[in-house]
């Protein structure tokens, strides 16, 4: 079977800065693919180009066998890619359950007339949305917090709520931008179990993360970006010992 996501020679410039230059990668199905690199290496830019927040200056994405040609943000979700954000972006004044329900939107259909006329189909669909949202909250371990406003949740819970919201779109690829940032050791361990479970249930994960212990322990393969270029790719053990990677992180030998 073909790779789930194939990025070919992705370029993105901001003025004179080459944020991504000729970045290519293949992400296989049901793997956890890590994307690491020093600050400013272009990891989040890659996410933004992939999800249509920015338009690439060059290159192409093939997703699930077809060319990914995104014109509006919701088409990314419809294609099967969902993401979370480096700085949490929940709908702060909606309940946890409602946040997850928003994610179901793309997989359901009742529109303005359905909402007003409320035929049996609409009512059944809305019950299903509710139910699915509850199942997902339970899946990420927030079953008891459904009615809490998103902004009132503790930090670690907000991170997991973002994942639940993304999962609600029924993605084939779940792109997580630093999900463990700011988490303590216990929260990180819970997160790791959750991510492994998501992968084992068949969803591919693309993971940006700075917590090296988590990345090395969790990822099946890793790509390293530095100054917008991919400098290494492979299994965690190989990447860890790669000379170019060590230089990017620790700096070159003093002359």
């Amino acid at each position: 079977m073909s790779a789930l996501l194939e990025a070919t020679n992705i370029n993105k410039r901001f003025g004179g800065i080459e944020a991504l230059s000729a970045v290519s990668m293949r992400i296989e199905r049901a793997e956890i693919y890590g994307l690491i690199g020093p600050n400013g290496a272009g990891k989040t830019t890659f996410f933004n180009v992939l999800t249509g927040v920015y338009r690439a200056d060059g290159g192409a994405f093939t997703f699930d066998g077809t060319a990914l040609n995104v014109k509006a943000p919701h088409e990314v979700a419809a294609a099967g890619i969902a993401r979370t954000f480096q700085n949490i972006r929940l709908f702060a004044n909606m309940s946890a359950l409602e946040n997850v329900m928003v994610g179901r939107h793309v997989r359901t259909h009742a529109g303005i007339f359905g909402a007003i006329l409320r035929g049996a189909g609409t009512r059944a669909e809305e019950r299903a949305i509710h139910e699915r949202a509850r199942v997902l909250l339970d899946y990420v371990g927030l079953a008891a917090r459904g009615n809490a406003l998103a902004h009132s949740l503790p930090y670690g819970d907000q991170r997991r709520l973002e994942i639940a919201r993304a999962l609600a779109t029924a993605p084939k690829l779940l792109a997580l931008d630093e999900p463990a940032a700011g988490m303590n050791a216990t929260e990180t361990a819970t997160l790791r179990t959750l991510l492994e479970r998501i992968r084992d249930d068949g969803t591919t994960i693309l993971l940006i993360e700075h917590d090296m212990k988590l990345v090395m322990g969790l990822c099946d393969r890793i790509a390293v970006l530095d100054y917008g270029r991919k400098i290494a790719e492979g299994a965690p053990a190989a990447v860890r010992n790669d000379a170019a990677v060590i230089e990017a992180y620790l700096g070159g030998e003093l002359a």
Partner: protein, 308 residues
Amino acid sequence: MDTFLQQIINGLTLGSVYAVVALGYTMVYGIIQLINFAHGEVVMIGAMVAFTVIGWLAANTTLPPLLIVLIGTLAAIPACVAVGYALEIFAYRRLRNAPRLAPLITAIGASIVLQQLAMMIWSRNPLGFPQIIPNTVYHIEGATITLIQIAIIATSVLLMAGLTFVVYRTRLGVAMRAASQNAQIAGLMGVNVNQIIAATFMLGAALAAVAGVMVGTYYGIAHYTMGSLLGLKAFCAAVLGGIGNLAGAMLGGMLLGLVEALGAGYIGDLTNNVFGSNYQDVFAFLVLIAVLVLRPSGLLGERIGERA
């Protein structure tokens, strides 16, 4: 005492209409921060379409009056929804990322276009709404309330309850609130934001259609300029309650209706008849000025969670 109660009843009737129209302003503002100044014209179109349908049915059939008004309303709703949708598609969508002044001026332009179109279709004369609802009068404590007033207040309460249900309990409402909090993130989570914005315009226009029928049957008259002043007053009501806030629009509408009615009822006594009840229209704008000076965010503020 009876003047007071009477003006409360009149004020609630008027306020019901303002509240329903103000909801249209506030919903659109909540989602794209645009003040849709053509909204008053949508109310006018609703009254005009209902006038045509009700007039024809009253002359050519023997259906019961309430049914005729109901059919007139049901005809006005799709017409207004179509106008609301057209406004969003042709006038506003292309200006979504333009500076905020551009869509505002477009809204004023659209309002002029709609007025002139209505004048061409329905003539420049005031059209007498057929008085088909029996003018039954009930007496309470020395004040009177008519059947039409009861119908207007009841209908608007039902509409407000219905809208609250749609916004807080349905898939569409969840998407509307998500888009109003952060359109980009809502988009990335799979919400087709353009569709939601169009739906918001259509919902507001449907409410406007009913408001048009209310005003037409209450005052017994429809005119192609009737939307301007009504629209401005409803806008004042939305600002009074806190624009972008649904509960605020309802509260602001009711309060404005009461202020106007009580003001008109007592201004003569208070000023030795120097000013009469024909100064009624002044109060809405006095309220607007007072709100903008004293509490620009409106009574219920603009707490982002309540926007839709």
